[in-house]
């Protein structure tokens, strides 16, 4: 943690040279273009994988591995271009089994990092991605769960029992400032209804970058440092009263999740939601 804080203050005190800002603006534009090209590239590789004779389960594993590697490649490209730095602790990859993975959500890149660092991750995605020709094959082959899935809890339970992990951002969308912690109860709902423990990931991004409500071309004064800390797994039964109604358990657990993050996050300048239009 100290190391992080030192680096953070070092970064914040550093004055950015205009040439450096221009360079990073161009680099950022390049990376948006790379994403625009890279995502269709994955769409080209996947039909090839799809044609290889192997079981559906194997195809799913391959697809998830390809997504994970692509995300890491993309982030490392940004790192090598000097657009960001990152640290992942305790290790660069984690392999939980049957857990709900949660994280706070300051930046557009959060999901890329978690997809890159966590094995066998199942995402809940907008059902529209199943109909979009660019993304339909990816979400189908990766066997993600659409958010309009009818028997959602049963489906989630099945996946978790098979050792998959489900990623949820309890805030539901990117936050406007670090200690906002406006957690919805969805993560607690799913954890309690599927009786699954929770792996919390703490994300810091300093200075804040690619946040909600920002124009895509606005870049921070210095390249941001992202840190990802995998916190201690939360055994949910220890933090809820099992004899109380489920509705109260959801609230108890949600409060506990917020309390888990709160000591790690300090105030940042608030970007008013009204600025975000």
């Amino acid at each position: 943690m100290d190391n992080y804080n030192n680096m953070e203050s070092l970064q914040l005190s550093a004055k950015s040279h205009p040439a450096n800002t221009l360079y990073r603006a161009l680099g950022t534009a390049f990376c948006y273009a790379l994403f625009g090209l890279g995502a269709p590239m994955v769409s080209i590789i996947l039909p090839v994988v799809n044609a290889i004779p192997m079981s559906g389960a194997q195809k799913k594993q391959w697809t998830r591995a390809i997504i994970s590697k692509s995300c890491m490649f993309y982030l490392n490209t940004m790192k090598n271009l000097g657009l960001l730095t990152y640290s992942i602790r305790p290790t660069s990859t984690i392999a939980p089994k049957g857990k709900i993975i949660i994280a706070n959500h300051p930046s557009l890149l959060d999901a890329f990092f978690i997809l890159g660092m966590c094995k066998n991750l199942c995402c809940i995605t907008k059902s529209a991605l199943w109909k979009n020709p660019f993304t339909a094959l990816i979400v189908r082959m990766a066997d993600y769960i659409p958010n309009d899935c009818e028997d959602f809890i049963q489906e989630a339970k099945k996946r978790l029992s098979e050792g998959e992990n489900i990623l949820i951002f309890p805030e539901g969308t990117r936050n406007y400032y670090d200690d906002q912690l406006d957690f919805k109860r969805g993560a607690a709902n799913i954890a309690i209804l599927t009786e699954s423990d929770i792996v919390p990931i703490l994300i810091k991004c300093a200075p804040r970058a690619m946040q909600k409500g920002e124009k895509f071309y606005s870049i921070p004064a210095v390249a941001p440092l992202f840190s990802f800390d995998v916190l201690k797994t939360i055994e949910i039964k220890k933090h809820i009263k099992l004899d109380s109604p489920k509705t109260l358990q959801y609230r108890q657990l949600t409060r506990y999740l917020i309390d888990t993050y709160r000591p790690h996050l300090t105030k940042t300048e608030r970007l008013k939601p009204s600025d975000a239009a």
Binding site: K184, R185, N189, P245, K246, T247, L248, Y250, R251
Partner: protein, 80 residues
């Protein structure tokens, strides 16, 4: 025997306090369930189950999901 409106209202208030940790002072008849009382769709299902258990009558889930305020719930239960 049919229950009177104040009786039903009191019962619904008790359910809301018990299930959702809501302060009874907030429970005005026109309090909006989702916006004012921080109830979500999963909560609403639990509330439906609870009311069904006590009233021993069938409640149409669609009709129940259209309820916006405490008063709407009271109306539904009164007309069971």
């Amino acid at each position: 025997m049919k229950k009177s409106r104040p009786e039903v209202e009191q019962y619904i208030k008790e359910v809301l306090v018990e299930l959702f940790e809501i302060d009874e002072a907030e429970l005005k008849p026109d309090a909006r369930l989702y916006e004012d009382l921080d109830i979500d769709s999963i909560d609403a299902v639990e509330m439906l189950i609870e009311i069904k258990k006590t009233s021993k009558k069938d409640i149409n889930p669609e009709q129940f999901s259209e309820a916006k305020t405490l008063n709407d719930i009271v109306d539904i239960v009164l007309h069971l």
